[in-house]
Symmetry: C2
Subunit: 330 residues, 2 copies
């Protein structure tokens, strides 16, 4: 069946149950939700929008689309060092969407809500004629009103990154290669990293009072570190070979030098980049052990002497030229 | 010019200034906004999404699109009896959008922010390939934590509506008639009612403690009153001839009986429908004088005896059959 007159039935059947955790959501049947945020905290608000065909392939199963949509927003909450609470969801759905898609999408949302302890608070559903547009506004709480900002990096700080960089880019590439008939274990790992990025919520929270700045990798390591540098009025030097890459990515990409370079300019990993004064790097090492997450030093913050915000070097100290320099344009 | 690499420049030039009222918006350059909501109030959250070609004609000037987008969301805040505070804005813009459009759109936002005392708190901008999708999440404060709900209507309550019904439908029809070369005064009034609906914020606030339920007219008088009835488990009888219609609408529509009927099933007026116990109708009369807004009694709440949520009658007590009965489907 297609949506249309039964929009309210769809809300009642598939979306209302997702708001059960919050009585002020009025089962999504009123004009708005009434929420009492914790008065000893500040509320963190972030919005991310996804367009089918732009942010995910049209062939993606709906439950994975749901997971990625929430995790991308949760990652912004993580990058502020906050704790997620709930979200609103607005959907523009093409006429030909079927009820199976909506059912699978809502199941995906339900699983993620359970996993991350969040609740649907409200939203809007409307028709469109072509691309699907999914818009989430996510709410979190900043304990003691403290957050991690982009603007706190100082000259001499060390630059760290969590997890591995480039997996999501390779996973998406594999999904887009229609010639692949069956995926091996390596492929499945990489695809999963695209579909279900891990928002680093626990790490973000622990970095409050330790890191001087943080951002999540959505546009790409170089570009996002560039955002930090721009906001902090500094530059960064990174060592290309120190950028942490998973075994699966090495297996897949290291035959090709260009693809290898692409890993640090492609995005979608939703790992955290953060800066830490050098006398706190021991704390970061302990944090890595405590959380069981790779935290790798990849470079240093330096004075901003020219327009170049981020420079990458090889182990011999030679500068590496990168094809994509979109990060210079803001 | 088209958007693309200069996305950040666009944010800095056109959208950052709109966030000046809130230091926690970090000039829209961080991952999220940090907002401290008033701890003695509850926070009201509502989301509305607009798609070009579906919710407004593609030919609409950008400043009017901005005004309508905010006002539609403000109307949901009004229908809860709350006071607006700020909003997040997510945009999916086609590649061929030009800088003049964005400039005019941001000017429209700035004017509305000034008028309604609200601030841009954050958002997201992305590309799409065809339709423009505009998504707003609006925040308000419910003083003393009290709100107007849809679910409070009781048998015997009187049904009121603010302003005039049907203007926006006629205004949109005129905009869509490409044969119209020059608009007369009547046309201009009706078009303006579509482009710049008046969210009834002051009225909503005053109705706290007086009205038993409220909703804004977005889907149409019959359909939206049906939402109230459904949530309150009652029915409503309305007198067709009592539905308030503007002079301009009468001039334009009353030659045609079918168009006249359409006025009460078409939406977009963003007037408030509310129910009041009959012993409080004097208070409503005083409120109408105080605010200078027409508040018209159009019917009564009755027992819900069958599936018909809203019935319309003529002055002789004969039931009026309406073509569009979409309101029965939820």
């Amino acid at each position: 069946m297609t949506i249309g007159l039964d929009e309210f039935e769809i809300i009642r059947t598939y979306f209302s149950p997702l708001s059960k955790g919050e009585s002020g959501a009025y089962s999504l049947l009123d004009d708005a939700a009434k929420v009492k945020f914790n008065s000893s905290s500040s509320t963190i608000i972030t919005s991310d929008l996804m367009v089918s065909g732009v942010h995910f392939p049209l062939t993606e199963p709906a439950n994975y689309v749901a997971a990625r949509l929430l995790r991308v927003n949760l990652s912004d909450i993580a990058a502020m060092g906050a704790v997620p609470v709930g979200y609103t969801l607005s959907l523009a759905l093409p006429d030909n969407i079927n009820i199976e898609w909506i059912s699978s999408f809502s199941k995906g949302l339900a699983e993620e809500q359970e996993l991350f302890g969040i609740t649907l608070l409200g939203g809007d559903t409307t028709k469109c004629s072509s691309e699907m547009v999914l818009s989430v506004t996510m709410f979190g709480e900043a304990k003691d009103n403290s957050v991690l900002l982009r603007s706190g990096a100082r000259v001499g700080d060390e630059v760290f990154v969590s997890g591995y960089i480039g997996d999501a880019f390779l996973g998406l590439s594999i999904l887009q290669e229609e010639t692949v008939d069956s995926y091996n274990k390596t492929h499945r790992y990489l695809i999963n990293r695209f579909r279900k990025p891990s928002p680093r919520l626990e790490l973000g929270e622990k970095l409050i009072g330790i890191a001087t700045s943080a951002i999540d990798v959505s546009d790409g390591l170089i570009s996002d570190l560039g955002h930090v540098c721009s906001a902090s009025m500094v530059s960064a030097n990174i060592l290309f070979d120190k950028v942490p890459v998973s075994k699966a990515a090495k297996l897949t990409a290291f035959k090709n030098e260009n693809i290898r370079k692409s890993l640090i300019t492609a995005g979608d990993d939703y790992e955290l980049i953060f800066t830490v004064p050098s006398n706190r790097s021991g704390i970061v090492k302990n944090l890595s052990l405590e959380l069981g997450i790779n935290l790798t030093k990849i470079g240093n913050i330096v004075n901003n002497k020219n327009s170049q915000l981020v420079s990458a070097f090889d182990l011999d100290g030679n500068i590496i030229s990168l094809d994509r320099t979109g990060f210079r344009h803001f």
